[in-house]
């Protein structure tokens, strides 16, 4: 992605831009979700942690990063398997943590 001269030093690529857009969309979606259906007080999940929706998003993002790294370290590219595990992990975190 060439971009403008102002942003060219940041060396943007479409995949990395897509990743940050995804994170931004997640944050906007969380705000919209909270507006439409407030999550209320933190709840205690299977790990014994009191978490809000924001905490669960953080855990999901951080956990996914490590799932991808472990997948890459053990199995190598491509990361489709890691993606599948991450989606299951996200669902599990939002449902039970």
């Amino acid at each position: 992605m060439e971009g403008t001269s102002l942003l060219s030093w940041m060396a943007w690529t479409w995949p990395t831009a897509g990743f940050f857009i995804f994170v931004f969309v997640c944050l906007v979606a969380m705000v919209a979700w909270e507006r439409l259906a407030p999550g209320g007080s933190p709840r205690r999940g299977v790990l014994g942690l009191d978490t809000t929706r924001g905490d669960r998003l953080f855990i999901s993002l951080l956990g996914s990063a490590f799932i991808f790294l472990i997948w890459l370290g053990v199995m190598g590219a491509p990361l489709w398997g890691g993606l599948g595990i991450s989606i299951v992990f996200w669902f599990a975190v939002f449902r039970w943590v």
Partner: protein, 287 residues
């Protein structure tokens, strides 16, 4: 119930958001971009995909630096947190010595990191340094420029000297905030010194200790300036911690792609360990 929403707060938060964006988020985004590309300079990049991440994850050099970093941080926490707590417990609470102690404790924190490294570099030199010469004089064969153990010893000693004060000051502030009524109640109950510490002071210091452990963990895990000035990562690679290795790759070799991938892995490890520390300590607080 209608909740009153005051949107003006956003205006007050905006400067901090902008500051964090410029000094943290934009550089982080740039590092992510570098981590998937190859460059030979002149701002020309080509796509490399996940190559650098695979390289970093399988790199023995990275594993060794990570192990050294974890060992250093563990040693630092094991020494500095109890030592800081013990010093704080023994500092005077009233009288003229309070100011003297506080100033003495604050002094190491006021010295710039590169100056600390330079000071200890000279202080520990085996031929002219007071510490180095003194240790050799009393019979220890000590030369931190050649012996890995001596280099580690000096590095840990320097960090303890520089940063234990931070733990002391945090713990001291926490101790001063405990109301006298608690101590009076303990006295009425005939509590011994250990019981006062275990049931009054330690629980009241938990938040402060959490902050102290987090700060010392993050700082020691990212140690760079003092270490590079003191040993430059040597002898050999004995004190090449992650940050020093990263600097060598990024600026020494100008391998921005591998350095970007390594930075992200490094960042994620710090983020995970900090979150774990914080969560576990807050959880024990609730219990």
């Amino acid at each position: 119930m209608n909740k009153v929403v005051n949107q003006r707060a956003w205006i007050f938060v905006l400067p901090v958001v902008l500051l964090v964006a410029f000094n943290a988020i934009i550089p982080l985004m740039t590092v992510v971009n570098f981590s998937v590309q190859e460059t030979f300079g002149d701002n020309v990049f080509s796509w490399a995909g996940l190559t650098w991440f695979e390289q970093v994850l399988h790199s023995e050099r990275f594993h060794a630096a990570l192990l050294r970093q974890l060992m250093f941080t563990a040693i630092i926490l094991v020494i500095e947190i109890p030592l800081g707590l013990v010093i704080a417990l023994n500092m005077p609470r009233k009288g003229p010595w309070v100011s003297v102690c506080l100033v003495l404790m604050a002094l190491p924190l006021l010295i710039p990191w590169n100056v600390v490294g330079a000071m200890w570099n000279i202080f520990a030199l085996p031929d002219i340094g007071l510490l180095g010469r003194g240790l050799n004089w009393i019979g220890f064969e000590y030369n931190y420029t050649r012996q890995p153990f001596a280099a580690w010893f000096t590095m840990v000693l320097m960090d303890v000297w520089h940063w234990t004060s931070l733990v002391v000051l945090l713990c001291y502030a926490g101790l001063m905030s405990i109301p006298d009524a608690y101590y009076q109640a303990a006295k009425v109950d005939g509590a011994r010194r250990w019981a006062v510490f275990r049931h009054i002071q330690l629980p009241k210091l938990k938040y402060v200790l959490t902050i102290a452990i987090l700060l010392r963990f993050m700082d020691s895990f990212m140690i760079y300036t003092e270490a590079i000035v003191l040993t430059g990562g040597g002898p050999g690679n004995a004190t090449t911690f992650l940050s020093i290795d990263l600097q060598k790759i990024a600026l020494g070799q100008f391998d921005l792609g591998p350095a970007g991938a390594m930075s992200i892995v490094y960042f994620l490890i710090i983020l995970l360990l900090s979150w774990l520390f914080y969560t576990l300590m807050m959880r024990s607080e609730e219990k």
